[in-house]
Amino acid sequence: MSTEAKAPPSNILTMARDTFLYELDYLLHPLQKLKGFNRFRYMVILPFLTVYHMAYLLILGLLSIMDLILSPIQRALGTTRMAYFFILPNMLVFGIFVLLPMVLNFYIGFTSGQSIRVENRDWVGTQNLERLMDCENFTDPNTCREDFFWNGVRNTVFFVSIQVASMVILALFTAISLNGKILFRGFFRSVFFYPVLLSPVVVALIWKWMLDAESGIINYFLVQLGFDRVNFLIDRNWARFWVIVVSDWAQMGFYTLILLAGLQSIPASLYEAAEMDGANAVSKFRYVTLPLLVPTMTVVLVLALIRAVQVFDQVFVLTGGGPGTATFYIVQYIYRNGFGITPAQYGLASAASLLLASVLLLLTLGQLWLARRNDTV
């Protein structure tokens, strides 16, 4: 056997080669007492070694070229700064496609005009923000200059409150059910997660068909049960209701999965101890499950809030923001002004997106603060 100690490997490649030979010898170990084993071993190893050496030479060549390029750079920058050099490609992509648009958006929020070139736009200071905030009574969007924006704000606040609360509660009870010993547990876990995999546009189209007043399956059953047909997407209250239901249905699986993971991390011994103390199911939920699920719930709540504030695509396909402006949300206002109308109001759209970004920033900071607080508790 060639397993005896060798000189320390000079680099990672020789270490890999030695490991390879060691593994091969280990595999062939049962055959070593056979006659002619050494010749056999040689025949087996030779092709591997040839391939290995070719790959070794290739990698070595590439590394040499890299070294030729990188060594002068490292000498110029120093070892510590080389890290920045390595993250440069990623930072370039991030800079061009994320950071630069953010900076441009910020600038455009303080300009006016029809041009898409920033240098051709007129600087108007805070005029766009002032226009958005020009309101006699913030609770009545009709008294605001940009009533579409304030309709969007009011609808978004309503949507976020109801949708997040209902979805988190539903996700929690679904997770608890799926955590129990039920039949076809794996199947049901997949079923609840499946809508998460669907595109929001597909979700909206499916529900649009189901809710159709003439040919929708929901109205079909209503008629079968003796009720009148309901044109769900024409009635303001029904439209708001279904937008929340569809969002809950589409997103609940994701949060259920997170909560399920949280539930599974609660030690079974705590439940056993509670049972020994005479706790019933409700008491176990109240005094064991809920307190230990608080960190996971916090994450779920903040993520759901951030996502709900950004509501747009699904609802845009389902209702177009209607009837009237009943399901018109802030992101649709931004879309409308930036891309949906002619002439486009890029300045207003950017200013509105800055306000939305501020809200999202606050929510994200809140999440970070809560996450840190949970870590220290």
Binding site: A213, I234, F316, T319, G322, G324, T325, I341, T342
Partner: protein, 433 residues
């Protein structure tokens, strides 16, 4: 030595000739930013091929993009200094700062002036003092209603003709609806452009002497009240105007599915209706209903505009001039089944041939085209003024969405009018700066 010299000289000659050959064939390449509604790109290509044969050294490329993107693509291109030579667009006033005046390159500027609508020409110009020629309106559209003739026959109701009012038409359509049991009597696309025809027919006069607009007028209120009445009585599909947020929605599917008696749309639907309805039922275009303001629809359409960023203004001008000549115009409208924008052809009528001589156009389509061609002559001046006004976009978007809010119960008509007025005033003020 001699042989080697001969070989080298021969090789150099071959190289030089091969380099010169294609260069001569493509001395000038013109690019047209293009979209297709149907098969008109193929017809334009045929015509351009003939132009290229007659003009060696000029090649014309059609860069086809989706209609939904074409205006944004053009906006980016002209602002980025990378404009095509020519573009086919519908939002003609929007780009007028970027157009090329081809007057120096056309054989007879007076021919252009006399052959095309002065309003369409004005929509491309920078102001009342501008007399330049900037483009060719080669797809004209008119809004007017369609009716389901089969339903009228089944109900034993005689379709009305020229001179009938909206009230009379809607009453007839309701009678057909009640006899045949179809869900809806009448519908109009969710578009202020479609509603503007009835508004002007009912007496709307929007423009003041200085070019600003006044929304609050009798015709505007009458048309919107008519629409409100249709919704209150449930004779129009509510999904179109109420259930659509801030989007354009066509009521076309209701008509195609035979669920609608009368449908206010326009000439651009003819080919689609022929294809989608087939022999399921008979349909026809009918004249626009009459009111105190006349019997008018709204004009519209697409045009090919020359762009100032071109490196070949003369070739662009000559190509546009060639396309605008009567022979090409006649062929273009006859084959594409587009309504003529050429005034002489509007007067004389077009012999509709379609693109395939073996398959003549559907008789229903031909009849509808004749009705719409007649409607061109009836278009009110106010309709042209509105369509080709720089305030048209502000009016269209805001009127559509504010009327939608009225129908959804969010605004009163007075509040909606005030909001639309505010928007067009703002657009007018921006124009003055």
């Amino acid at each position: 030595m001699k042989i080697r010299t001969l070989i080298v000289v021969t090789l150099l000659l071959v190289l030089a000739l091969s380099a010169m050959g294609p260069a001569r064939a493509q001395d000038v390449e013109l690019r047209i930013l293009w979209y297709n509604d149907g098969i008109e790109g193929q017809i334009m290509r045929d015509m351009l091929d003939r132009y290229q044969e007659a003009n060696p050294g000029v090649s014309v490329v059609l860069d086809e993009v989706a209609f939904a993107d074409i205006h944004n693509i053009l906006q980016t291109a002209v602002e980025g200094g990378d404009a095509p030579d020519i573009a086919r667009i519908t939002q003609i006033p929007r780009f007028r700062d970027y157009y090329l005046d081809i007057t120096p390159y056309v054989a007879d500027p007076a021919y252009w002036e006399n052959s095309f609508s002065p309003f369409a020409q004005a929509s491309m110009r920078k102001g009342p003092d501008d007399t330049g020629i900037y483009g060719l309106l080669n797809q004209f559209t008119v809004s007017a209603p369609y009716i389901n003739v089969t339903l009228f026959e089944q109900a034993g109701v005689e379709p009305l003709g020229e001179g009938a009012t909206w009230e009379e038409w809607v009453a007839a359509a309701e009678e057909v609806q009640s006899v045949t049991g179809v869900p809806y009597a009448v519908a109009i696309d969710r578009s202020a452009h479609r509603l503007a025809g009835p508004m002007i027919s009912m007496g709307a006069v929007f423009f003041n002497e200085d070019g600003s607009m006044t929304i609050d007028n009798e015709g505007f209120r009458a048309a919107v009240n008519m629409l409100i009445d249709w919704h209150e009585r449930g004779i129009t599909p509510p999904d179109v105007w109420v259930g659509s947020g801030d989007q354009y929605v066509a009521a076309r599917d209701y008509f195609v599915n035979g669920e609608l008696v009368m449908y206010m749309a326009g000439s651009w639907l003819i080919n689609g209706l022929v294809n989608d309805i087939g022999d399921t039922f008979d349909w026809a275009a009918v004249p626009n209903p009459t009111g105190p303001g006349g019997s008018t629809g709204m004009p519209g359409g697409a045009g090919m505009v020359a762009l100032a960023g071109t490196d070949h203004p003369e070739e662009v001008g000559k190509l546009m001039d060639w396309l605008a000549q009567p022979e090409q115009m006649t062929e273009w409208f006859a084959r594409t089944l587009f309504l003529p924008s050429h005034l002489a052809l509007v007067e004389s009528g077009v012999e509709w041939t379609g693109n395939d001589p073996a398959n003549p156009p559907d008789p229903k389509a031909v009849a509808a085209l004749d009705v719409f061609t007649t409607e061109i002559g009836k278009l009110a001046e106010e309709a042209y003024r509105l369509q080709y006004s720089p305030l048209i976009d502000a009016f269209n978007i805001n009127a559509r969405d504010r009327i939608g809010q009225v129908l959804a119960g969010e605004l009163t008509l007075d509040e909606a009018i005030a909001r639309i007025q505010e928007a067009v005033d703002e657009a007018f003020a921006a124009l003055q700066q």
